[in-house]
Structures are given as structure tokens and as C-alpha cells.
């Protein structure tokens, strides 16, 4: 007798959100995601803070990361984040779903130049 239900596979949107955020947090200079509700990707079951993934009309998804950073050159940091996200999405088999990766620095924190995780 089968017991319990199957866990539904996460949507591409949610997978992209997780992959993008995890990748961004590994970049030195990224302190963390912002916690605001409007900057999160959420379903009824899950919530990924600091990343907003929105479907485009070409089957790809626009990824916007809303981050808190250390006080470092932010455009270089954004480029490194973008590279890391693209690499992680490719490794996860999500390269074709990945559209533009926007990086929004919402705040900076002095003395927090830690690498992510």
C-alpha cells in the first residue's frame, strides 16, 4: 500500500531562484539577500528571499537578485555574480531557461567582506 504523497518537482522558476541565490551567496563581497517580501520568489510551499524570477515571453526567466553587499566596487561584484549564476544554472541544466541576470544592490555593510557560503 502506498502511503503519503509524492513531493511535486519544483518549478523551473523556483529551481532558478534557488540556483541563482546559492550561486550569488558564494561570491566574496555578497553579504546576503534582502528579506523584503516583494523581492522574493514564492510559491504556496516555498519562498526564496532576495531573488525575483519572472517568466519572459520566450520561455526564459528574468532573474533579479536583490542583495546586500560589502563595501567593494559594486559593478565588478555584479559581473562576478552574473558569471557565477550563469555557471551554476548551466551546471544545473537550466541554462536555456536563464534570461538576463539583474543585480540590485539594496544596501552595503561596512566591514563585512566575507565570502558567501
Amino acid at each position: 500500500m502506498r502511503t503519503g504523497g509524492t513531493t511535486p518537482r519544483p518549478s523551473t522558476r523556483l529551481q532558478l531562484a534557488r540556483v541563482a541565490l546559492d550561486a550569488a551567496l558564494t561570491v566574496a563581497g555578497v553579504v546576503g539577500p534582502v528579506g523584503a517580501l516583494e523581492s522574493a520568489t514564492a510559491t504556496a510551499r516555498d519562498r526564496v528571499p532576495g531573488v525575483l524570477v519572472v517568466a519572459l515571453n520566450d520561455r526564459r526567466y528574468d532573474v533579479s537578485l536583490h542583495l546586500i553587499a560589502a563595501v567593494v566596487p559594486l559593478h565588478d561584484l555584479a559581473d562576478r555574480i552574473r558569471e557565477r549564476v550563469v555557471r551554476a544554472a548551466t551546471a544545473a541544466g537550466l541554462a536555456r531557461a536563464l534570461g538576463p541576470v539583474n543585480v540590485v544592490f539594496e544596501d552595503v555593510v561596512a566591514g563585512e567582506a566575507r565570502a558567501g557560503r
Partner: protein, 150 residues
Amino acid sequence: MAEEPRSRKTASQAVTAGEEISPLAAERGATRIADAVVTKVAGIATHEVPGVYALGGGAARAIGTMTQAVGMSARTAQGVSVEVGEREAAVDLTIVVDYGESIPRVAQEVRENVIRRIEGITGLSVTEVNVTVDDLHVPGEEEEAPARVE
């Protein structure tokens, strides 16, 4: 179940619409820097200059002391006002200078350091940094209240 594409505005859409904060388009997406970031960088850069005792006018400092005590604000934001465009930023600062320091020298160093830090960190070009010296800090003038608990 397939999810409905959402109608919320993304960063790139906001950039296209010319909204808010400084967008800089890159090949694979845009980078935006919030006003709060420019404000904080300006505040930190100001504090780095010897001779600057505090940021903000009297009222701002009093309110800042209270809000910091309850963790609601950073000392780097008070006394700083920024105007941020797509590529440029203008900064207004209100500072308190230590008594005995040369005010023109401190103001000039603040200006140079704020420009260097904002341009280096955010890539924005700083068009002006206006410095208002609101007060002088004289040592002993405002004794810190003794701690009530150890």
C-alpha cells in the same frame, strides 16, 4: 502544475521604464544601486576623514542617537542627502568638526574622499559634494552619561 507568469516588474523592466536608482546595463542583465547604498558609502567616506566628529545637525544627531539605540538606523546615514541619477550623483553632507581642525581642510578632504569612494564603489560620477559644518565638537562639552549597569 504550471505556474502563471507573474506580472511583477523586474529590474530590467524598471530600468527600461527609467525608474528609480542608477541602472547600468550589462550584456546579460542590469546592475542597479539603491540610493541607500550611495548614502551609506558617502557616510562611511565622511567618517574616514580625520577631524570629522559626527555626521548630521543637532536634531538629526539627537534623533539618530535614539534610533541607533533601538537598532533602527545606522550612524552613517544621518546628515547625508543624495540625489542619484542614471550616471551621476550629488551629495549634501552636514558634519560636526573637531575643534582645532582646519574646517576648509576637513571639508576638502571629505569632498575628495566621498568622490573617490562613490566613484570607485558605485561607478557613478559625482557632480558635487556640498559640505555644511553644523557645529564644532569641543572635548568635554558633552560628557557621556555614566553607564547605569555594568
